[in-house]
Symmetry: C2
DNA sequence: TCTATAAATCAATATATCTTGATATATGCG
DNA sequence: CGCATATATCAAGATATATTGATTTATAGA
């Protein structure tokens, strides 16, 4: 798929918009903390992260079995304009739950 | 649906991207000329025009039974950034066929 | 090597969107 | 009014995308 349409397609989902907003506010976050914070089933979250990554919005850094996702930087013009829009949306953003740091993470 | 998501959703279709590009290049065009130029079935074209209009990309002016569509101006920031992207896409744009002006239009 | 865990992928189903042909609406004109 | 034409809407089927639970992969540690 063409790059622009791929970006648009990635943006065309409330779940992914929520993920982008969450990562913009909270910065680099590991998958299991995203799961806990956004109360999302693992396969669902993983799928959306992949779509956002493939569309150029996210980067991943792996440390052992953990994967840390964050907003890719720099974003190109269109993607960063989109992100600016997302920053202004009236979204009810759940708080960050860091289960990764207290051994609570037993998915 | 929220405004941003509605814009994104409207952009998320190759047919609508083609329509936007065509109207950007050719300016205000009536539906039957769009039909002839883009070789699109009437109900399909009408549907996509409605989606683009409802998402704030297009305006319509009606003269008698004819409807003239054009890119709405001014566009807000995100929409105009999107349009700029569309202007740069490597699209094979069909030529304008003005069947409206020679009585050729008998849909 | 074996086990446990984090994350990714798969398969089935559910849901949304697109396309087409048929029908409805609206305007102009005899 | 009644017909013709331009456009809009509807209904059915086709296609794409999302969700869920199950399975697979990969890494760390015993």
């Amino acid at each position: 798929m063409e790059v622009f349409l791929k970006s648009v397609s990635a943006l065309n989902d409330e779940t992914r918009i929520l993920i982008l907003r969450f990562l913009d506010v909270n910065g680099e976050t590991c998958v299991c903390d995203l799961q806990a914070s956004l109360e999302m089933i693992q396969s669902r979250l993983s799928r959306h992260l992949k779509i956002l990554k493939d569309a150029g919005f996210l980067r991943v850094e792996r440390k052992g079995t953990w994967a840390y996702y964050s907003i890719r930087s720099p974003l190109d013009r269109f993607r960063s304009e989109a992100l600016e829009e997302i920053k202004c949306l009236p979204i009810e953003l759940p708080p960050l739950r860091k289960i990764s740091e207290n051994g609570e993470c037993k998915i």
